[in-house]
Amino acid sequence: MKKSMENIGSGQAQNQPENTARRQFMVGSAAAGGGLVLGMHLPFEIAPGIAPAAAQGAAASEINLWVVVRPDETCVIRIARAEMGQGTLTGLAQLVAEELECDWSKVATEQITPGQNLARKRAWGDMSTSGSRGIRQSHDYVRRGGAAARTMLLQAAAEEWKVPVGELSVANGVITHAGSNRKTSYGKVATAASKLTAPDPKSITLKPIKDWKIAGKPLRRIDGTMSKLNGSKVYAMDVKLSGMLHATVRECPVFGGRLVSFDDSKVKGMPGVKKVFRLNDITVAVVADTWWRAKKAMDALPVVWDEGPNAKVTSASIDAHLRTGLTSDDAFADINTGDAIKAIAAAPRKVEAVYRAPFTSHTTMEPMNCTVRLTADKAELWIPTQSAEASMAVLSSSSGMPLDKCEVYAMDLGGGFGRRIGSQDVVRQGVAIAREFPGVPVKMLWTREEDQAHGLYRPIAMARLSAGVDAQGKLAGLHVRVSGQSINAFANPAAIKEGRDRRQLQGLWDTLEGDAQIGYTHSNLRTEYAMRNTHLPVGPWRGVNTNQNGIFLECFMDEVAKLANRDPLEFRRELMSERPKHLGVLNAVAEKSGWGKPLPKGVFRGIAQFMGYGSYSAAVAEVSVSGKGEVKVHRMVFALDCGNYVNPDQVAAQIEGSVAYGMTTLHSEISVDAGRVVETNFHNFRVMKIAEMPKVEVVLPVTGDFWGGVGEPTICVVVPAILNAIFAATGKPVHNLPLSKQGLTLV
């Protein structure tokens, strides 16, 4: 047995916390007799009230990929997706447990590592956790896994009793043969079950959703709730390994600049400093015996940068660049129904507006970090990652160690929001640092300032929208031109086909393909995108391009409704007859919020609907605006149709979270001066706090005929609903964010 996690801290600890609860991962093969222990210790969180899966490892039986049963009746459900607070772990366990018919109070979970997945030819499927896919793209095979395990456990009991399996029943992990009045349990038949041939998962009929008892219910989370409240949960930032060193890095603050030199004579003699070195052409690293000492040395280190060609870029110059895309002829049209431009020109009344949605940053609460240990025959990585497999690929490519000699311990994330999926930039840095200390684990942790300065920002975008209204007060035509930075151009150029980067029009697509369909149809409709890239790196940010496009379309819709002298809800409904699901959530939120009913004096409503990640969202915000421009959001009501709900309370939690994450963009942007990011920490990147948080209510209309995402869909209606309420209150549309650009403040 090889230890891969230790609990030895540096210094004079006298009451070292038991902060690295270990468990043993069972990698067995049913064909080989089950319970074959490969003996891998992983740092892992054990949920309260659930016995650790570690103990009695040798006696535990792997029934199949998803289910391990222990003699004490614990059902260990394996999870291949990342948990970053979004609740996917609990939801996936509910789905397996539902089909398994086990006792929910005896469920424990364990995380698959990418090394284990690779060793079994990716039997656990895709491990990446982004695009709100954790449940909607794995619900079917995990349920089949739970059902197959149940079948095998029942078969084992039937063989032991020599009765037809059809005569058995099971509930809460207890198997009953009514005819002979015999009972047994999963824990007792697990060893025999693990030796049976697994049924073909496709032969299994899943339970009708209406019969669900565990899935679909608002059960409490099982990802270690109390450990998050008593300090015992180990995040990657908390990992402790024997002999571990600590590092911090500084990359050229101007993207596209270079590291020229640094004067390490000033810091070499500082306490604890082990090494100051050029990590690559753009980055300097300091390694010390504690992180604080590494950081202090980094702060004192004189560094000379060549700031390169972007040193004069400012937010104003970026805006000017984007503005050229609002009227240029290099755009492509995506939806082009009828002749919107002609119809608008011919309409008796018209309106045009230019909107701007700035860059913003993920700012996960846990700053970027990872720990790497490179030995002669192994590369190991501890990291909060949304894609353990992508992390392992980069661990391998940057260390030169073949994949089968790499392992990644994917720790639950202190926030992801899209930052920890794509480039795996910290892995490259972590490996480069660990190379300098063969055999020694080195933990690299960014300062918050580094985290703000080197994000993968939500791309900046502008839009010019125009519309005409006919004599009857109906929409005559709508033209949407988006100009802004492309995520694909930065991160995945191959996804851009024939120069048309449709991804930047997410939420404005005319078909369901891509899971983000526009909610309106019209005989004169045109959507366009002109690519205007900047020197900032960009990436997916919770909700991705539905954020900007939701603001553009839904806020402008209120401007058009006002021009037509129509109620914004009524005006939208008229355009949605071919979009029943979009209309469904709009109607549900209108009803729940009491749309049209009187409000307290000074309070105004705004409404918005949009689609993303296969789910339909709508929101109503109730807002007041003081004479001094203080914006107070009192209440928000949401309707989300994600088809099926695995845990409605966690769906509600994700909606509540999307409110706070979205509303922060009313406070703050990522702006650029002298080529670098201006907002370096929370003092100038103002994040929404409890005092600004509105009351949130949620309605979940059940349609049940599809599976949509949950973590991302609702954020795209948060800001437009609020901005529309501000428009209703002030008569002035909000065209630019953050609110301070229009003399408003969120209170």
């Binding site: 004079q12 409240l229 008593n230 995040y235 609460m365 202190g414 706090k689 409890i690 949130v696 309605v699």
Partner: protein, 165 residues
């Protein structure tokens, strides 16, 4: 060498005098429940109790702590996770990623010690910790639950779980 009373135990630590208490707690004493989130006293992830007052430990130099001072970290808030704040938080499933929650719990526990029946305004003023997952809504409800106060806002989290099934 500094002598620190943390969670009722005395620790002798060797650190430069300007080392923030946060890093002494995390790296020398080995208690990692107290988090680093900003280092500039803005986010509250590093909140601890110093003589019963909630303090952000990331800017407090270890040399400013007197030998008689009592430091309590999240690990020492209760012996068995039974503090009313911890219980209320668990009952309402407040935590999402959980990274900010050590600080949130310490701030709420300090608030309730001072004001056993806090109003929403008291909560707004005392709870300036940042949560990027956006658990604010349930934090408010959980504080009211722990305090036994019932306000309109306190209903929120339980309402939110309701569906029109």
């Amino acid at each position: 060498m500094f002598q620190l009373n943390i969670n009722g135990r005395v620790h002798k630590v060797d650190a430069e005098p300007d080392t923030p208490l946060l890093w002494v707690i995390r790296e020398q004493v080995g208690l990692t429940g107290t988090k680093y989130g900003c280092g500039v006293a803005q986010c509250g992830a590093c909140s601890i109790h110093l003589n019963g007052e909630v303090v952000r430990s990331c800017l407090l130099p270890v040399s400013a702590v007197k030998p008689g001072d009592r430091i309590v970290t999240i690990e020492g808030l209760s012996r068995d996770s039974s503090h009313p704040v911890q219980k209320a938080w668990a009952e309402l499933d407040v935590a999402q990623c959980g990274f900010c929650q050590s600080g949130q719990v310490m701030a709420a526990a300090a608030l309730l010690r001072k004001k056993p029946k806090p109003t929403d305004k008291d909560i707004d003023e005392a709870m300036s910790n940042i949560c990027r997952c956006g658990t604010y809504h349930r934090i408010r409800a959980a504080i009211h639950r722990a305090a036994g106060t019932k306000t309109a806002a306190a209903d929120v989290a339980t309402d939110a779980g309701n569906t029109t099934v």
